[in-house]
């Protein structure tokens, strides 16, 4: 029964927190650009408005299925991601499972966009998959290093280790180099500038989103909430000690996302090949050094 409650609550919580994260991202951006920014409920308005469109354009069954895959992938990821008070299926899965699940939404997007027959979308999704290839390499190295350091791949155990030992045992303290590489890879994962190649409005007209309208676009907005939440929570869990309750946990998640959205507004975007070059050079290099240090210790 608790499990069922968890399964329902976890995506819900993720969605609500995700809305707040989106709001924060937009507000931070507005502040950097010296303006006021959107009202508090703006992310909700956007999503409801998109779902309340009276006409919809579907590009076939694959398009519809792909959107479900996209959202389903993230909802599954939420269930495997332990947060204070809610464990869900985290006992049964582990970090490796999570990394696999987090690839599902992007593949879903690729399937859906493929059936749109818009060249901008196709270019966009090929760029997105390339970018995924770029940031997944350092990310996997970071995760392997963290697992070796903690001696387990179970997220609940990882949280417990950090909780019992206090801040000195947080991943950020025991393996700072890996934590830094993780932060860089996280930034790439969020698809913000300078790694925004697959949205790139001025080049390919928002790429994968070109043909998305109404509820499909709404699903992408929901996905954005989940994406910010998942990435933030995963990083917090691995390196910032999780949290015994939401009061301590949420600020950490927001801080992780804040770093990313604050940095992104002062960069342009790299070209695709430069993203790969940069990602495989710096975060991967740093992560490998971190991994070596962890293995030596």
């Amino acid at each position: 029964m608790t499990l069922l409650a968890d399964l329902i609550l976890m995506p819900l919580v993720a969605f609500v927190v995700g809305l707040l994260l989106v709001l924060m991202a937009r507000r931070v951006r507005a502040k950097i650009e010296r303006r006021v920014g959107p009202p508090f409920l703006q992310p909700v308005y956007d999503i409801v408005k998109l779902y309340a469109k009276k006409t919809q354009v579907s590009h076939g069954v694959m398009h519809d299925l792909a959107i479900m895959m996209l959202l389903g992938g993230f909802i599954t990821a939420e269930i495997f991601l332990p947060v204070p008070g809610l464990d869900g299926l985290a006992e049964h899965g582990d970090l490796i499972t999570l990394v696999y699940i987090m690839m599902v939404p992007m593949l879903g997007l690729a399937l859906g966009v493929g059936s749109c027959a818009n060249p901008n979308g196709s270019i966009g999704i090929s760029r997105a998959l390339t970018a995924m290839l770029a940031y997944d390499v350092p990310y996997v190295v970071v995760i392997v290093g963290a697992c070796i350091s903690y001696g387990t791949t179970n997220l609940i155990d990882i949280v417990q280790i950090q909780q019992q030992g206090g801040p000195a045992t947080w991943g950020a303290a025991t393996m700072p180099i890996l934590a830094f590489a993780g932060l860089l890879a996280t930034h790439g994962m969020l698809g913000k500038e300078p790694f925004e190649i697959y949205i790139a409005p001025a080049e390919i007209a928002t790429g994968p989103m070109t043909e998305m309208s109404g509820k499909y676009m709404g699903a992408l907005f929901v996905m954005q909430c989940f994406q910010l939440y998942t990435v933030g929570v995963l990083y917090t869990t691995m390196f910032l000690g999780g949290g015994e309750n939401w009061l301590f946990f949420l600020p950490k998640v927001f801080a992780v996302i804040f770093i990313s959205v604050a940095v992104t507004n002062v960069y342009g975007r790299y070209k695709t090949d430069d993203v790969i070059r940069w990602m495989w050079k710096w975060p991967t290099g740093i992560a490998l050094v971190g991994l070596a240090l962890v293995m030596v210790r």
């Binding site: 950097i32 010296r34 060249p119 080049e203 960069y267 342009g268 975007r269 790299y270 070209k271």
Partner: protein, 380 residues
């Protein structure tokens, strides 16, 4: 549902594909289109497609009085309207043998330079936005707004001033405007380092803009490139110096050049030009209070003004390059023929097509914005 009712059309070979870049595309400046044929990421062929902003200016100007056309000319180039007004006014003055009073000439220079700063700030913003640096766009546009306020106070309009008329300017400067203008200039100079940090010193911008859309000086000369784009190739050609008009000979300013000829060099030239414009404005502000006199020479009744027959070519250095008005009068109360030579007629068509061939899809917007192509000037 019925089948969609378009006809099947011939498709290019499967390894190539074509992309309609515009007119409804955020990477296009204004309402313009480029059809590109691509192989992978690389552009095989680019065909510029204009005419979306065609209003038939040259035709409707022939059916309006000389003085009525003052309202039409600024609308030819939207981001930088003042050089249009000035060139038209000077061509009519040359035809009618009018002598512009000195004070009006100084006021015109002030307007021209403020307009140049506005246009360059807009281009900074647009160019940064093409590579995802939206902060720069927001700052640049809001900075430009301060100058628009100055325009509004002088002329009553933010964008289309209709301020420069044949024979002088429409009205004198309001009191205290020079102080406000120098305050805005100081503000711009104070903010300039921020733009440097954000744009000109950014590694990402260096990475994207350096070597993008490069042309040599020979190419630029043979393609008819003018303005900042030509100066970025190393040739210090500036009509304000080489074919001086108004009171530019009395002003002290440099002509910045770069040698690289790529997108970065073009933006650097524009940045240096803004600094030179500030320098000119400072001189104008210092000088203007001491220049007394009328602001307009006496005109005949403008509603029945028959401009003597003849032809005149007036050119100005707009923020984009050489702007020319070729005006022919047959002695009537309306122009017989007005031909507008906008700098973008070269930059947005042949030059763009040449530079895009062989470039990559990421670079299209960057090249177009760094050329500062202005589609309404092409379409007229």
């Amino acid at each position: 549902m019925r089948p969609q009712n378009y006809r099947p059309v011939a498709h290019p070979p499967s390894h190539e594909y074509e992309l309609y870049f515009g007119p409804n595309h955020p990477g296009i400046e204004g309402n313009y289109a480029i059809r590109v044929r691509l192989k992978g990421d690389v552009i095989q062929e680019a065909i510029a497609d204009g005419g979306y902003l065609h209003r038939g200016f040259e035709k409707i100007m022939e059916s309006r009085l000389w003085i009525q056309n003052v309202a039409l000319v600024p609308r030819i180039c939207v981001p930088d309207p003042v050089p249009m007004e000035d060139s038209y006014a000077r061509s009519v003055e040359a035809l009618g043998g009018l002598e512009v009073p000195e004070r009006a000439q100084w006021i015109r220079v002030l307007m021209l330079e403020v307009s140049r700063i506005c246009a360059h700030l807009f281009t900074f913003g647009g160019n940064a936005a093409t590579i995802g640096l939206y902060t720069n766009m927001f700052w640049g546009v809001s900075m430009r707004d301060l100058f628009l306020d100055i325009f509004e106070e002088i002329t009553g309009a933010r964008i289309y001033h209709m301020y420069i008329t044949p024979g002088g300017v429409r009205r004198d400067l309001p009191p205290g405007i020079l102080d406000k203008l120098s305050a805005v200039i100081d503000e711009l100079e104070r903010r300039a380092p921020e733009f440097d940090d954000l744009f000109f010193d950014s590694t990402v911008v260096m990475n994207r803009a350096a070597g993008c859309g490069t042309m040599t000086q020979e190419q630029a000369l043979s393609w008819g490139v003018t303005g900042p784009n030509l100066r970025a190739c190393g040739l210090p050609f500036d009509l304000r110096r080489d074919d001086p008009y108004l009171v530019y000979p009395e002003l002290d300013f440099d002509i910045p050049t770069e040698t690289a000829g790529d997108a970065l060099a073009r933006m650097r030239v524009r940045k240096a030009e803004v600094q030179q414009s500030i320098r000119i404005l400072r001189q104008v502000i210092a000088r203007l209070p001491s220049v007394k006199g009328p602001i307009r020479c006496p005109l005949p009744n403008p509603l029945a003004w028959n401009v003597p027959a003849g032809e005149a070519y007036a050119r100005a250095e707009s923020s984009k390059g050489e702007l020319g008005f070729f005006v022919v009068s047959n002695g009537g109360d309306k122009p017989w023929r007005v031909h507008v030579r906008g700098p973008s007629q070269m930059h947005a068509v042949q030059v763009l097509e040449n530079l895009l061939t062989g470039a990559r899809i990421e670079d299209i917007a960057q090249i177009m914005f760094s050329l500062d192509a202005c589609p309404p000037e092409v379409d007229r």
